[in-house]
């Protein structure tokens, strides 16, 4: 059942059982980049640690020579140390470059691969999934969250690895000077880890407050300025200023609280105490405990301890980057792993649909506790044009979604040509149903390609016929490159009505048996409306058509009108029937007709007082 609709064959499979494992499997995939990053980071820290040791050596040489009476003989040793320092730092630069470059590649590849994996998985998911998943949310995950994963590695984990070597190297090198000297840096590592953890824990809720108060401040401010006409019109400036000041003060308080916690950054104190303690420890060993420590060793030791300042300051940033990345990984993986529970029924019926549709006592809700449709029944005969009317939220769109099985009913049946929709193969069913959304999506390709999207092999002549039928041919011809004009390029943008007509042409070319058209947008002028309505009339000819519409005129000419109210069918029939039997329906026409030049008796077909008549009544 969980058969995917689209599969990319890959040599590599990721472990999707948990965000941690998933990230790990992506990491392991990077192969040779891992040793480069880790090796580079270690080399970088080690070569940084070499400097104080070399300095110490030079000082010892000079100091011994001076004790002997003449310093000059130590100069070759000093020169060697100076040259070694320069060479070691050159080596360090090379390693660091390799590490940074490697980590850069690492992060970018990860971003690329994860996005690829996400995209392929989205393509593999059912229409049901895409019908339900908000596009904006998917886009956010495909861009921001995937980017966060990149940043989690570079600079995030890169710095975590780098700074942990800056913790370890001082301890290691100090141990080599005198095992006892490893004490201070080692204690620091643990104390630091505890302090950092505590600090992050304390800061987290406050940072959240700061973000929340800022968000509120910004949102309300934008609102007051966007709505300034209403604010002024209602003379509410003073109230708005007062409300703004309260918001700004709430942010200020959170900001001050955050500053206070940040000011109490304990790792900084720990760093100071460690240097002090190390100094004391070295002095104690030198003077009291008796050892062979030289002055150069002590100098080297102090130098090693000051290496600790790098991780002290950098890890805060690095850790927050990593935790952001993990949260993003969770969001991306959640989307990749989400199942769509609809049965595809591959072996179901797939023959040509005639177009008879019956709803039998249908009940449905998006959540269990809130039914959207209750006891909805009606019958549509093949070729009819059905207008669905009702207030926003009355369930119009839901009816359309049940026909093409974006969702399945909770109770009752949706029947197409005598077969329950669940007995049709999903592909066979959907292949014959075209849905034209309110704001259709077009690709940044040529107009011809967009129209032929469902049938890429369609000859140009058929594309043009479809465009003519959809009343789009004329405006397409007027575009700079006609049918070859690429949408979105060189400033070519299309109006809502033009997009709608191209979508109609696209649907016509694939010759669906059932057409569902959401026409609840409004045309600004009558000429545009003429074109859209002509296109719809053509498209509806010869196929069962559902119109979700707000236009009384369209409703009037439909073969069947279904009036929905609060998820039930309030009335169902032809315009004349409803006008005679349904009081709310009649009221609608009377009220919106105003003191009308149209009496109720004049609602006959074919009458057109103003525009020219096309002579046609309802089909």
């Amino acid at each position: 059942m969980a058969q995917s609709e689209f599969v990319v064959e890959r040599a590599f499979r990721t472990d999707r059982s948990s965000p941690g494992r998933w990230v790990r499997s992506h990491v392991l995939r990077q192969g040779w980049l891992i040793p480069i990053v880790i090796g580079g980071a270690f080399g970088n820290a080690a070569l940084a640690g070499v400097v104080p040791v070399l300095i110490g050596g030079a000082m010892d040489a000079v100091s011994r020579a001076l004790e002997a009476g003449d310093g000059m003989p130590s100069m070759p040793a000093v020169t060697r140390a100076a040259v070694l320092i320069i060479l070691s730092q050159a080596g360090r630069a090379v390693l660091q470059l390799a590490r940074n470059g490697g980590s850069e590649l690492f992060g970018q590849r990860l971003e690329r691969d994860v996005r690829d994996e996400l995209y392929a998985s989205l393509l593999g998911k059912s229409m049901t999934f895409h019908g339900r998943q908000p596009v904006g949310d998917t886009m956010a995950r495909a861009t921001n969250d995937v980017r966060e994963l990149n940043l989690m590695f570079n600079p995030g984990l890169n710095l975590v690895v780098g700074s942990s070597f800056f913790l370890i190297v001082p301890a290691l090198f100090a141990y080599r000077l005198d095992p006892r000297l490893a004490a201070a840096p080692t204690v620091f590592i643990f104390a630091y880890a505890i302090a950092l953890r505590h600090y992050l824990g304390v800061l987290k809720p406050i940072t959240r407050d700061v973000r929340a108060t800022f968000g509120r401040l910004n949102a309300r401010l934008a609102e007051a300025i966007d709505g300034v006409e209403v604010v002024k019109g209602a003379a509410q400036e003073d109230n708005e200023i007062e409300a703004f000041e309260a918001d700004a003060r709430a942010f200020r308080d959170a900001y001050v609280r955050q500053g206070e916690k940040e000011a109490r950054f304990l790792p900084l104190l720990l760093l100071g105490l460690t240097i002090g303690a190390g100094f004391w420890h070295a002095a104690w060993i030198y003077f009291e405990a008796g050892s062979t420590l030289s002055i150069g060793d002590i100098v080297a030791y102090i130098g090693l301890l000051s290496m600790l300042s790098f991780p002290t300051f950098i890890s805060l940033f690095a850790y927050s980057q990593v935790s952001l990345g993990l949260a993003s990984a969770r969001r991306v993986l959640e989307l990749v792993n989400r199942e769509t529970e609809l049965d595809q029924n591959k072996d179901g019926a797939a023959h040509r649909i005639e177009g008879r549709i019956e709803f039998e006592a249908v009940e449905f809700g998006y959540t269990a506790d809130r039914p959207v449709l209750t006891d909805v029944s009606f019958t549509v005969t093949p070729g009819q044009t059905v207008a669905i009317v009702g207030q926003t939220g009355s369930g119009k769109t839901t009816i359309a979604r049940l026909i093409n099985r974006t969702y399945d009913v909770d109770k009752g049946r949706v029947v197409v040509d005598g077969l329950d929709v669940r007995e049709w193969s999903l592909e066979g069913l959907r292949g014959q149903i075209a849905v034209i959304e309110q704001d259709p999506f077009l690709f940044s390709r040529s107009i011809a390609e967009n129209i032929a999207f469902g049938r890429p092999d369609a000859p140009q002549s058929e594309v043009e016929i479809a465009a003519r039928e959809a009343q789009a041919h004329e405006f397409i011809e007027r575009l700079p490159d006609g049918y070859e004009t690429v949408i979105g390029e060189r400033g070519v943008t299309l109006s809502g009505g033009q997009r709608q007509r191209i979508a109609i042409a696209r649907a016509l070319l694939s010759d669906p048996r059932i057409l569902i058209l959401d026409d609840s947008t409004s045309a600004i002028d009558s000429a545009t409306e003429d074109r859209i309505q002509r296109a719809i009339d053509r498209a509806a000819a010869g196929r069962t058509t559902f119109l979700i519409t707000h236009r009384l005129s369209q409703i009037r000419w439909a073969d069947l009108v279904i009036v929905l109210r609060g998820g039930t069918v309030e009335a169902c029939g032809t315009h004349d029937e409803l006008f005679a039997t349904s009081a709310p329906y009649r009221r609608l026409f009377v009220r919106l007709g105003g003191d009308s030049d149209l009496g109720a008796q004049s609602f006959g077909p074919g009458e057109d007082q103003v525009g020219g008549s096309n002579g046609g009544g309802p089909r």
Binding site: E111, E229, N239
Partner: protein, 605 residues
Amino acid sequence: MIFNNLDVEAYDREYEDRELVRRVAAYAAPHRARLVIIALSVLLISGLSAGVPLLLAAGVGRFDTPGATFPAMLVAGVFVAWILIWLGNYLRRRLTTRAIGDMVLSLRRDSFSATMRHDLAFHDRYAAGRIVSRITSDTQDFGQSVALVAELIGQVIEVVILAVVLLRISPRLTLIVLVWGPVVIAAAAGFRILARYVTRQGARAQADVNAKILETVGGIAVAKNFRRESTVYDEFLDVNATAYAINVRRGFALATVFPALNLLMGFGTGSVVYFGALSTIDAGITVAAWFLFLQSLERFWFPLMNLSAFWSQVQVGFAAIERVFALIDHESSVVQTGSESVERINGDIRFESVRFGYGDGTQVLPEFSLHVKPGESVALVGHTGAGKSSIARLVARFYEFQGGEILIDGRDIRSLDLGAYRRRLGVVPQTPFLFSGSVADNIRYARRDASDAEIMALAQTVGDGEWLAALPEGLATDVGERGSSLSMGQRQLVALLRVLLQKPAIFVLDEATASIDPFTEAQIQEALLLILKDSTALVIAHRLSTVRAADRIVVLDGGRIIEEGDHMALMSAGGHYRELYDTYFRHQALDYRPKPKPEPVQEPA
């Protein structure tokens, strides 16, 4: 200031530095005591930070001295210095945050109040988002720069103290340390330019790529609909590969910064080791002093690298505050000459030879006269640019006019108390605007004292309150951001009820063009009729039912009245109104059928 050119607005002005400093000082003045303590703690921290290497060097000196004993005082000194540094830092940061938080708060309050005072000509002209960013981001940026500059000053003081000490020990060796300064500053500045360049290049390319990625994601549903997954997948792979290439190139450029600085540091250290040894051997400085120079090197470099950031940060801060002051100082062009009380208004509106333009030279109303009698409803119709909204907005006193007179009940509109006058006005803009909060909150927006019962009773008067049943929690329903959880129709209803609650003497409506389901639309019409019954109304009409309901239709063209009358009369006259009807209203008629295409089309089978 390179970036700032992007958001220059016409009301921006250049302040002289002295003027700017004076203005900023006025905002800083209330925090004088805090600022003094901050300055003192900065000095303390700098002194102590410079002192730590001195103590350590002195310690090393002790090791080097034959017969020396455990340097207890020095060790204690290091501990005490670090604890004091931490405490000083705590004090400094705590007070700085407070001072900045309070300054930013005052700046925000002042700039927001100013924004609310500015007339609508200002708000029409300048994008809300940019004003918002001045009030929130620019104030914050300014605060941030103040903090950063304070920190940098601390570091520079530390460097100066160290430099003085070093100079006294060995001028020659100090010179070696200082010689690297310009090199480091140049390198840091170079990298800053590089970073800015690649970031900006990258940002542009990234924006393109992001747009393409968004498109490939947006197209998935369509691709699946037509079973063309592999086509869009191939397209996606291309885009994804491009994004990767761009990002890697940018990343590699930035990856060179720190390695290069470390290499430079290697040369610096090497040179101080070498020349330090020479000085120790032949110029008589101690090994401890040599050590001090080595420690100082790093302490010198860090502030130097930051120094190049310093100026740009100061500039960013000043540019930001300049933008905020420009917003505060902009003068509103709507000026009242008096503040006569407005207790009752009958709603008599008279335009007499009014001249009006938006200040860009074009005359919207060359010489406009119109008299609207109390209680009359007038529908304004005409093509875009005919002057409909200007007339409506002049009545609401949103703009200043340049000539003629507007009289309300025979009194000059300029002489009225503006707040009181507007409270007698009901204004509904074309896109009905809802504020976050509940439906009830929005209805009582203009009359906050209205009780729940009053609002409930009012809500019931429209369509027997049926529209409330469609809202999940009735009047308590949260409307969401800008009313997003309500349908367009419901938003319009709420906006009209807001006015209905106000019982205004004058009603100004710019009718919405959005398409609304007929049931809600019928209720909107009902609410509209209720308002029209009791108020003088000026309506920019887009709906056929509204023009029909108006007492008088005024047809405008180029800011002049070209026809007047009611719907039936004007229709039968067959003039300009008839033409407008055919263009904008015909398709709204109940018996509308599309006009056939002029040329013959082949009939479908």
